[in-house]
Symmetry: C2
Amino acid sequence: MVSERGLQVLRAIVEDYVDTREPVGSKAIVERHAFGVSAATIRNDMALLEDEDLIAAPHTSSGRVPTDKGYRVFVDHLADVRPLSSAQRTAISSFLGDPGDLDDVLARTVRALTQLTGQVAIVQYPSFARANVSHVELVQLGGGRMLVIVVTDTGRVSQRMAFVRDDFDDADLGRIRAELGTLLVGRSVRDGLQRIADRLESAAAMTAPHEAATAAIVRVVAEELDEFRQDRLVMAGSATLARREADFRGSIYPLLEAIEEQVTILRLMGEMVADENGLAASIGRENEPFGLAEASVVASDYDATGSRARVGVMGPTRMDYPSNLAAVRAVARYLTRMLEEDESSR
Amino acid sequence: MVSERGLQVLRAIVEDYVDTREPVGSKAIVERHAFGVSAATIRNDMALLEDEDLIAAPHTSSGRVPTDKGYRVFVDHLADVRPLSSAQRTAISSFLGDPGDLDDVLARTVRALTQLTGQVAIVQYPSFARANVSHVELVQLGGGRMLVIVVTDTGRVSQRMAFVRDDFDDADLGRIRAELGTLLVGRSVRDGLQRIADRLESAAAMTAPHEAATAAIVRVVAEELDEFRQDRLVMAGSATLARREADFRGSIYPLLEAIEEQVTILRLMGEMVADENGLAASIGRENEPFGLAEASVVASDYDATGSRARVGVMGPTRMDYPSNLAAVRAVARYLTRMLEEDESSR
DNA sequence: AATTGGCACTCCAGTCATGCGAGTGCCAGA
DNA sequence: TCTGGCACTCGCATGACTGGAGTGCCAATT
């Protein structure tokens, strides 16, 4: 069994290794940390830690390096998430100070977070599945093109083009608008999709005038609602990976690809399990199912108008977990506060 | 002076070096290419090429490598842009086959291009500065939030939130809509911005009812028009850079950063000078002002509803210029044709 | 004048031997 | 349970050596 001091040794190893990228030896530990025991004692502890697979030696008789499991124990039991410096706090508020619409706020958030941590920053959009449709607007552009705009009460807006054969006069357009209104406004995104499906199958509607065009428009609305249902991400800081390349045994290719694909990261972020503080970490090999076995993700939940979502950072397994945890927590809190203010000012 | 055969030697060096990444020596040239002369003769030619700074030796008595200037001569005089294989052609049309709105088509284009070349693909949006405003739409969302939608006759749509103090009744809203309509509809983006500026200074308007709110809305419209005026990009394939890392003496950091920033690449693409076929290349050190001295960009103009824009690829200086030129040309032609069809079907 | 074979020379890249130092593992003693 | 001591293991840097690829140049040939 690993002793209390053994865990402190693990902490020291993680901290020093993250600091220096050098495997850390027993002598270095007694020099840099005030353990009050000799190097030989530390060595005994290290042997225990190695038995538990918390640290490993890259080569026989070289310093030790934390394993993924070691990082996990460090994060779960040893990392004290220390609050940010005041400089960092002002950095956050200067980035996020001004209000704006959701896209705007999240775009600034993600930049603030990559700035703060020097890692790839990820901000998940709040889920809109439970949001309600508040407006459906049609704008006729001529030539059979119709702009279909859908707005939810959480402030999300989507616009998309529908191609209908002919243009309509105002009366017909009004009728279609009215139909969409009764069909969708006030309904949740989920309900709306269901009602659209019903509508498209309904025999009664089939015979309605302008049915072909109306159906085309309704289908476009369904696409837009479906997009609301899917979660979305914004990311920034992919260039920082080039700086950290030495920390990846393989290449940074999988990370860059995941960043471009988005969907992998979306799934990964979705599956992470947060602790009671809303913080979560997924370390190294734990991300193997996503092809990101050399990366770690640290994330924090935030609240946005009733639904939860996450902000996080992604980087090499050898990262400064306490700082990154502190940063995502601070940003998530700030974001929650901002979005609440926004809500209450409506 | 470099002889005709000397240029063929340069071509051989460029081709072999791009192929193998090994500096190429005189012996390798006579083996791989049927010059019908001896290695010693090639050596004499190579000495000339070196005097002209078209090739260089990484170390004394090692093979030769093309210089940036050498690539330039190769691209200008030696590269025959051979047509794509039929497999590649079908790949393009299967990617780009279906019609859709502009965002959609360009998104698929950029993916097709990165697929085709294995490089970072860049597609510039057509410039909308000369486009005309065709619709301005206001959607009241309640709580003093107003969605402002602007549409141009080139099919570009922008939506943005304005924060006005209070909500309006339909009559007032109608008045504001009408004012925006007479102010902007049918005007070019450029004119529209000017007219907005005039409107905001006009003494007459100052005293109008709901002036504060109207002014807020007009300012939001101005932001949207301004966004139209700025060129935009879509990119894909940044992950491919991780694969080509060995081709960058320094790191890929500047490239990744440029991709994230976008504006650098926008300027670079804008300043490239196309030949009579609409093709352009910017090679290595020529990109130094943009911090991309180890990268090359190959681009082709395309036509979109009256305005020109570019598609291109970015990669290491050591790239397969003929293939990439062929790919961007083919994609640009395809894109032009698609957008024209789209236009004529309106 | 252009081309060629020959030859001396350069320099890279790989291999091997060597020594040093950091670090470990283990043991006997406190 | 901790400690000092000691033998041992490797990694890594250094330096010497060598083979080979490639050049540059020159005199001879066409």
